[in-house]
């Protein structure tokens, strides 16, 4: 690649970056074209034949070009500006950074449209389902847990228990009683919140490590109950054929129904419609979580959560009932977990205790911590990186060509996961978004440096 010295340029210079990227691409093509593009193979008659592997070459060259462009256009200037004004945060942020939330939201809304128009309905399923829906579930779980861990500073290692309560509430009540999703969604949330209060009552007297351990145990207990209470939960075999969600009974997603969406809208039958619908459903649920959390942060209860994280003793000296305040945080976090759980059950059509192991809790906590405790945007980025990252690993099967057919990138998931987390925590110890946004201001809004913000202790 070009060994040109980096000139310290301030803003991103897209033209120069593009030129550089093309150059790097040409070089990569020159290097990898012959090396990887041609492969000799013996055919039936022991003749040596050349096989072309242009697909892989294109992928590699594309990675080089895009990578070079990103480095040149964003990473290097960012590093330079960071070095230039180390200390005070720069006031003139880039357009991208300033409008990050709007751009992100627009992207999320258009995502299925983009994918479908690029790949067609049938091919879009994987991208909408494995990436879109999967990531958004974790965004929602991250935002829910963010209330408990990020705002109130209570380390809850058993969050997945509430996710399980929501999922099983929907699974059981819909398959036994045939209740609709739209009734069971709020009900699952309420049931999960109730469990949050039941657990919270004895547990929230504990602080720090003790709270973490007890919540961890609670998560495991719920899972063991699900495994062993066979009569109700069908044990580790789980519950299958959970009814699909429909649009208030007007439109359904079962091909056999007269109200099937394909028949109503005169489209060929495809399972993609249901996935796209689910995508928008989870997007709406996640945005609802974000909306409520943002509202709550500006209300006295949200400020009390953050004050609790900062100093519990001071809170009590100001007349704040800390037990109730913690309980509301716990219950609300659990409620959003329950919503996500019932969505999960509806989307999978199948639930089993396997889905609610401790690793899930750990992943959600990791998302909150990586994102930067208390930051909604940070949590969303972290969820996209962690969940999207693991999904991408599944897509790397072309690496088999490099490392041989036994190579399974999925096996390295945890390893890469751990490495990435360590790297990020070294690079940004406060998570992706380390600054805290104040909830009220008199003169001008200034974000608070993460180093002053406490992490909570129980």
């Amino acid at each position: 690649m070009s060994a040109e010295m980096e000139r310290p340029v301030a803003g991103p210079n897209y033209a120069a970056a593009a030129r550089d990227a093309v150059l790097a691409g040409v070089i990569a093509l020159g290097v990898f074209g012959p090396l990887i593009g041609f492969k000799t193979e013996q055919n039936m008659n022991n003749q040596l034949v050349v096989e072309n592997r242009w697909g892989i070459v294109i992928v590699i060259v594309a990675i080089v070009v895009i990578g070079r462009f990103l480095l040149k256009a964003f990473v290097f200037p960012a590093l330079v500006t960071r070095k230039a004004n180390a200390g005070p945060a720069s006031t003139d942020e880039s357009f991208f950074k300033r409008n990050f939330k709007t751009i992100g939201l627009a992207f999320l809304l258009l995502y299925p449209v983009i994918i479908v128009s690029m790949l067609g309905y049938q091919q879009s399923i994987k991208w909408v389902d494995n990436f879109g829906i999967q990531i958004l579930i974790y965004v929602m779980l991250g935002w829910g847990l963010n209330i408990v861990v990020g705002l109130a500073g209570l380390l809850d290692l058993g969050y997945v228990a509430f996710y399980a309560v929501g999922a099983y509430s929907y699974a059981l009540l819909s398959s036994h009683f045939g209740f609709s999703f739209w009734l069971l969604l709020p009900l699952s949330g309420i049931l999960a919140a109730m469990w949050g209060v039941i657990l919270g009552f004895p547990v929230l007297r504990l602080r720090g490590d003790y709270l973490a351990i007890v919540t961890l145990a609670f998560g495991e207990i719920i899972r063991l109950v699900l495994i062993n209470w066979r009569e109700v939960t069908n044990g580790s075999a789980g519950i299958s054929s959970i009814p699909k969600v429909d649009i208030f009974g007007w439109i359904t997603f079962n091909v056999a129904d007269p109200t099937y969406i394909g028949k109503i809208l005169d489209l060929p039958p495809s399972s993609a419609y249901y996935k796209i619908f689910l995508y928008y459903l989870i997007l709406a649920l996640a945005l609802f979580t974000a909306f409520v959390t943002l509202r709550l942060r500006r209300l006295p209860i949200g400020r009390a959560w953050e004050a609790l994280r900062e100093d519990e003793v001071a809170c009590r000296s100001l007349g704040i009932n800390t037990t109730n305040t913690k309980l509301t945080a716990f219950a609300l976090g659990a409620m959003f977990g329950g919503f996500a759980g019932s969505f999960f059950a509806a989307r999978q059509g199948f639930v089993s205790p396997e889905s609610f192991v401790f690793l899930e809790s750990a992943v959600i906590v990791a998302i909150v911590v990586l994102g930067g405790m208390g930051s909604m945007v940070g949590v969303a980025i972290a969820a996209a990186a962690m969940i999207g990252g693991t999904e991408i690993l599944r897509e790397l099967s072309f690496l088999k060509a490099v490392f041989g057919p036994e190579f399974n990138p999925d096996q390295f998931r945890m390893l890469i996961f751990g490495l990435a987390m360590v790297t990020i925590m070294v690079w940004k110890p406060r998570g992706f978004v380390g600054n805290r946004e104040p909830t009220a201001f008199l003169h001008e809004k200034k974000s608070v440096s993460g180093s002053l913000v406490q992490e909570g202790h129980g």
Binding site: L299, R303, A304, A440, K446, L452
Partner: protein
């Protein structure tokens, strides 16, 4: 007549009656009784480890006294038995606010937010226990505006109005002390307990603090109880001084009376020379003022 019976005996806001606090074998407070007068600045002094902070923790409910009673009576006559109330209710219902010897601000929150958290209870009611607030009812907006005005009032009083949007943890030490007092005052207390408010302040800041405390007594219908090592502060602003040593009360009276008490002088002689000097200098100042 008023000369004979001190005002704190006739109209006390707080009566501490035979309070004892034991930690295992250690008697931190031993059968302590005193009264704090309504509208007075009462100072609780004594050498290190005398049990002053422990008394505060009993008054504000952070410790439950082993024995004894703590009576509080509001200006409207409403009585409270503090030893029976949980700590947050002592602040919310009995209207006793406090500051801490080692400052406890919400350091990652802005000054304004610190003062808003102090108004949690009225704001919580205004937000309909959050429900109406989430739905965006107008009543809450009004209540919040009112709270912000109160916060502005106190920010002006402590001279930190311009720094309202900075994190509390960024403030210099003296300003943090004042902010903690303002935060306590935002709960609209009847009794304000200050644990060594002048500790670590330079003479100018200490003077400003005196002004602030006198202003609170004058304007706010709040009685003050303060622990202080800085004798100049004690002698200059307090109406009544209670002296503790090893958890036992050794003197109680007007500053002029306490300064001449041989037991007080002995107690301070037992500590260190610097503090004795401080006592003596302060006493001289007061004597001179009294003679003029």
């Amino acid at each position: 007549m008023a000369e004979m019976i001190p005002s704190w005996e006739t109209n006390p806001i707080l009566s501490v009656e035979h309070v004892t606090m034991r930690f295992g074998g250690l008697v931190a407070v031993n059968d302590l009784s005193f009264k704090a007068g309504r509208g007075d600045i009462t100072a609780l002094i004594g050498p290190n480890g005398a049990g002053k902070t422990t008394v505060f923790n009993c008054i504000t409910g952070f410790y439950k006294p082993t024995q004894g009673m703590l009576h509080l009576r509001h200006a409207d006559g409403k009585p409270f038995l503090l030893e029976r109330m949980p700590d947050f209710k002592i602040s919310a219902k009995a209207k006793v606010a406090r500051t801490f010897q080692n400052i406890r601000l919400f350091s990652g929150m802005t000054l304004l937010e610190n003062l808003l958290v102090a108004q949690h209870n009225p704001l919580m009611i205004a937000s309909g226990m959050t429900v109406l607030g989430v739905l965006g009812f107008a009543g809450y907006k009004k209540a919040e505006k009112h709270s912000i005005e109160r916060a502005e009032y106190w920010l002006n009083k402590i001279g930190l109005y311009d720094r309202a949007d900075d994190p509390a943890g960024d403030l210099p030490y003296g300003a943090q002390r004042r902010l903690e007092i303002a935060r306590a005052m935002c709960t609209e207390p009847e009794l304000l307990c200050l644990d060594e408010p002048a500790a670590g302040l330079n003479p100018r800041e200490s003077g400003e603090l005196n002004e602030l405390l006198l202003g609170i007594r004058r304007d706010e219908n709040t009685s003050l109880l303060l622990i202080e090592h800085d004798m100049s502060v004690v002698m200059e602003i307090s109406d009544h001084v209670v002296v503790l040593e090893y958890g036992t009360k050794i003197s109680d009276g007007k500053p002029e009376a306490v300064r001449n008490d041989p037991r007080v002088i002995a107690a301070y002689l037992g500590v260190d020379d610097e503090e004795v000097e401080q006592v003596e200098q302060a006493l001289d100042v007061v004597t001179e003022e009294a003679q003029q």
